[in-house]
């Protein structure tokens, strides 16, 4: 079934959403629209309100104000909620059942008849490439396969909106890349995807648009490449990684050169518009310095750079 052919409404439409925890505002006028086939990356630090937004969309939390529509229907209607397929952070499966048994149980709980459930099972196994593991007990599967199975359980009823909450936590690189493929394919099938993640590389690779959740609202929002271009234009990021913490004098020298300090004190970075020749000269200069340098890297800034930039801006305001 091609889900991309839908009605005139976006799959998810959130309009000036405000949510409070007691007296504390968590979301303050958040707007968000996701269209069929779109993968939207919801980014933000811990405690920014990503889980609150997901729970509010799923009608678990009553908003103070604002409107949430799923395919044009108010999200509190059972019919609207049925359009959601939720993949929680945890492996939301019965460990003592096989993947196949789990999928049939969740298909029936999604309201499908036995025949429809068997049909949906084939679709989900195929979509998540689970064919060889489907008869294994869930507790015997590796982290990556468990993640695929939990994703499969969420798409059995062909939801229009797939909400993925940190779907690759605790899986290795290969499993992560395989899951990326599955998510891309689901998006190509027409599922709209809301992806809450800390993994900036994942968001950059997968998402057609991303939004940074800060101070209860999404800003900035846009295509990752466009956001990066707007923030950094054609500047490069120079990353200097030290073997040991620098002396106070060396710190001052790096600071004078325009390098800012990162979390653990072993990394310094700055944005520069440099040619290849200038890159070579800067590298030689740094290597000749008394600093014990492990790595000097020039790279195009990514979403993690934008994340740090936004964080720094917030602290300087």
């Amino acid at each position: 079934m091609d889900l991309s052919v839908r009605g005139p409404h976006p799959v998810l439409s959130v309009d000036t959403l405000c949510v409070n925890y007691g007296m504390r505002p968590v979301l303050t006028g958040l707007d968000l629209t996701i269209d069929p086939g779109e993968i939207f990356g919801l980014l933000g630090p811990n405690g920014a309100g990503k889980t609150t937004l997901i729970r509010t969309i799923c009608d678990r939390i009553q908003p103070a104000s604002g409107k949430i529509l799923i395919e044009g229907r108010d999200h509190s209607q059972r019919q609207a909620l049925r359009k959601i397929g939720l993949v929680p952070q945890e492996i939301a499966l019965y460990p003592h059942l096989t993947a196949r048994e789990n999928l049939i149980v969740f298909a029936r709980l999604a309201g499908l008849s036995h025949a429809q459930a068997l049909d949906a099972l084939d679709y989900a196994i195929e979509a998540c490439k689970l064919t060889h593991q489907v008869d294994d007990y869930v507790h015997t599967l590796s982290g990556g396969w468990k993640r695929r199975a939990t994703l499969a359980a969420a798409i059995l009823h062909r939801p229009s909106l797939l909400i993925l909450d940190e779907p690759t936590v605790g899986v290795d690189i290969d499993a992560r890349n395989a899951l990326h493929e599955v998510i891309k394919n689901l998006s190509a099938d027409g599922h709209a995807v809301l992806l809450a993640t800390h993994d900036m590389d994942q968001a950059e690779v997968l998402c057609g648009s991303v939004g940074f959740l800060r101070d209860g609202a999404l800003a900035p929002v846009g295509n990752p490449l466009q956001l990066l271009h707007t923030a950094f234009a054609d500047r490069h990021e120079v990353l200097v990684r030290l073997r040991e913490p620098a002396s106070p004098e060396a710190c001052q020298a790096l600071s004078d050169l325009g390098f800012s300090r990162d979390g653990n004190g072993l990394e310094r970075r700055q944005l520069l518009k440099v040619t290849a020749a200038q890159q070579t000269r800067l590298t030689k200069m740094l290597e000749a310095s008394p600093l014990r340098i492990k790595e000097v890297r020039f790279r195009k800034p990514g979403l993690d750079s934008l994340f740090l930039k936004l964080k720094a801006e917030k602290h300087t305001i």
Binding site: T51, C58, D59, R78, L86, E90, I91, A92, L109, G111
Partner: protein
């Protein structure tokens, strides 16, 4: 090094309030309950509830009734009972622990035994205890009665009394009965003709086995329901409930399905206990299968509802396990699953009515021991039904509330 690990263990215990309560609160609490029960068995706390019918209506019988009413270790049934049959009914229905029927004059010369104690075979011990009380009271407060009943024996042994001897003896007996309450501190135990015990054995088989079949059944219903219901917490923490909450099913279906499963599991569990009781001890439940099934379904659903509401109220499985262990042990001890309630002091018997154990045991005893019909079982069945409905509703509401809390 050992000190460091000791510190870890101590901090773990101190910071886990459930474990702390289980370790230091539960043992003294259970001890207090059992101490209260067994101090009653050997001391003054066991206060039998007795019903009295005085058919003789003589001065002596009135004196005995008054003495029984004043006896602190007995509680007198206040209902209106007029004859032997109504007394037997009250005993067989369990309204009283034991009955006392004064069927003739205490000093008559007939062969009729004047005092008949009517006890249920399920509480046969209560008959012996009351018999002891009656003989002690007669010996202490009415020594003339004992003496009077010995006159024929004395006459036979001495070859007959003269009129003068008989007149003096009667005067002495009169005087002893009227005033000399402290005449003897020794219990009269040799007079087997004064008191007889009639034990009601309606169905045959062992009453104790039918009692404990019901008592153990409800205890294990509660234990396994609490354990099974804890999977609700697993499903909540594993994200399964999150997933279902947005689907067609909603969270209610999870609770209702578990309720049905635990009830069904409970029915099979209880059936196994009663099958054994049937095969080995002739507790004949298939003969009353319909009412047995109704009682079992209600008891199992009450246990399932209680287990689920407890699981819905608890945040973690560890918390649920601790509270479940605590609750099941306490209600089983108070409710009569460990020791029959009639052996408990009255205040503990009163508290016992707030446990499902007491109602379930009462229903099974009524059904299998007293041959009670549906009408007679109703007072024991509706509390179980009510507990099942209220606790299921509480489990549903608490689960919805937890879902909203996240």
């Amino acid at each position: 090094m050992i000190a460091a690990l000791l510190k870890v263990m101590i901090l773990g215990l101190v910071r886990d309030r459930g474990a702390l309560a289980m370790t230091f609160l539960l043992p003294p609490l259970i001890f207090m309950i059992f101490a209260a029960i067994f101090s009653g068995v050997s001391g003054d706390e066991m206060r039998l509830k007795i019903a009295l019918v005085d058919n003789a209506q003589t001065d002596e019988s009135a004196q005995l009734v008054a003495a029984l009413r004043e006896e602190p270790s007995l509680r007198i049934y206040r209902g209106q009972l007029n004859d032997d049959d109504s007394l037997r009914r009250a005993v067989s229905l369990g309204e009283v622990d034991v009955g006392l029927y004064i069927q003739g004059s205490l000093i008559s010369d007939t062969d009729t035994i004047p005092i008949l104690i009517i006890a249920d075979a399920g509480r046969a011990m209560a008959g012996s205890i009351l018999s002891g009380h009656v003989q002690r009271l007669i010996a202490r407060k009415m020594p003339g009665v004992t003496l009077h009943r010995l006159v024929p024996t004395i006459e036979t042994l001495s070859g007959g009394l003269t009129d003068a001897q008989r007149a003096r003896l009667n005067a002495s007996i009169q005087a002893m009965n009227q005033g000399n309450e402290d005449a003897s501190d020794e219990e009269e135990s040799s007079d087997g003709t004064l008191v007889a015990i009639d034990t009601l054995d309606i169905r045959g088989g062992s009453s104790a086995v039918s009692y404990y079949a019901g008592a153990i059944a409800i205890m294990f219903l509660l234990l396994s329901a609490m354990q099974g219901a804890a999977t609700l917490i697993e499903e909540r923490t594993s994200g399964i409930v999150d997933r279902l909450a947005v689907g067609s099913a909603g969270v209610d279906v999870v609770v209702i399905a578990k309720f049905l499963f635990l009830t069904l599991q409970g029915v099979f569990q209880v059936a196994l206990i009663f099958l054994l009781a049937w095969f080995i001890y002739s507790v004949s439940f298939p003969g009353r299968f319909g009412l047995w099934m109704l009682t079992t379904v209600l008891a199992a659903s009450a246990a399932a509802g209680l287990g689920l509401s407890m699981a819905a109220a608890c945040s973690t499985k560890q918390q649920a396990n601790t509270i479940a262990g605590f609750l099941v042990l306490i209600v089983s001890a108070i409710g009569g699953s460990m020791v029959p309630r009639f052996m408990m002091p009255p205040w503990l018997q009163d508290i016992g009515w707030y446990t499902p154990n007491a109602w379930a045991i009462e229903a099974y005893q009524g059904l299998l021991w007293r041959d009670a019909d549906f009408q007679a079982l109703l007072p024991s069945l509706w509390p179980l039904l009510l507990v099942g409905i209220i606790s299921l509703a509480a489990a549903l509401l608490l689960s919805r509330y937890r879902l909203k809390l996240g």
